[in-house]
Symmetry: C2
Subunit: 152 residues, 2 copies
């Protein structure tokens, strides 16, 4: 077992999961802040130079997990590790956000899909990507093809 402790908390306008856009074509344009604890603020040095950050956080209001999940983007269940379901063996969330600006220990970001008060475990610079032509998107591509033209 490994013990993890928050390095900070998300501040967002989302107080309930129902408020967070989900499904195909969901836009995550919400702005919010990542409020980093004073004792680790020095770890943010030079972060301003990155346009995008990887935020690793905890689904802290989820209890338990399912090995199969039916995501909002499909009508069929898939293995939880082939989805972004919050009900995972380790309830770890991962979000790429755009860094708008830094005010000391507070990072103003766009692309928030976390509830207000979500504990943050780590922040890393987002650096590279897999070229689109080399990427296969599994069941999601099938689900998108089936629902093309439907509302997300």
């Amino acid at each position: 077992m490994f013990s993890m402790r928050p390095i900070g908390f998300v501040r967002s306008s989302y107080t309930e999961t129902a408020q967070i856009p989900k499904g195909l074509g969901a836009q995550h344009d919400a702005e919010g802040t990542l409020d980093i604890l004073p004792e680790v603020e020095e770890g943010l040095t030079d972060i301003e130079g990155f346009s995008h950050l990887l935020v690793i956080w905890v689904f802290d209001r989820v209890a338990g997990y399912d090995l199969r999940a039916t995501p909002p983007t499909d009508t069929r269940p898939h293995g939880v590790f082939a989805t972004r379901s919050p009900r995972r063996p380790n309830p770890i969330g991962l979000t790429v956000v755009q860094l708008l600006r830094r005010d000391g220990p507070r990072l103003h970001v766009r692309g928030i899909d976390m509830l207000d008060g979500t504990p943050i475990l780590d922040i890393k610079p987002y650096l590279s990507s897999v070229p689109a032509k080399r990427l296969k998107r599994g069941w999601l591509a099938d689900a998108e093809a089936r629902t093309a033209g439907e509302p997300a």
Copy 2:
């Protein structure tokens, strides 16, 4: 505090960190396997359809952390959250691997940069990317420009 437990372990040819390519231009082409525990194998259902996976894991042989780190790609220290240093407040690692094939609970992958025996916390499908033209790479772009032409 949040307690996390392994869902499986990495099998790789790396037994010491010195063997893992680091620095500018480091190629992570090493193949290895992600051996998932039988009790969560069902969570891999449909994962075969994805070409790339995000693997969240633990730097389990690191003790302690530093708020500033001098990465192999630079001669200057940066805040730990602006680097991929293993010495982080929560020793969480993140790697994008290419999925080659699945044999039951064993995922054969390319792009391993973890030591043999590394505990895995989570696997998620790698789906999207930020367009290259919208990405700023902070101190890394500067360091690359300074060392252009030098060996990695």
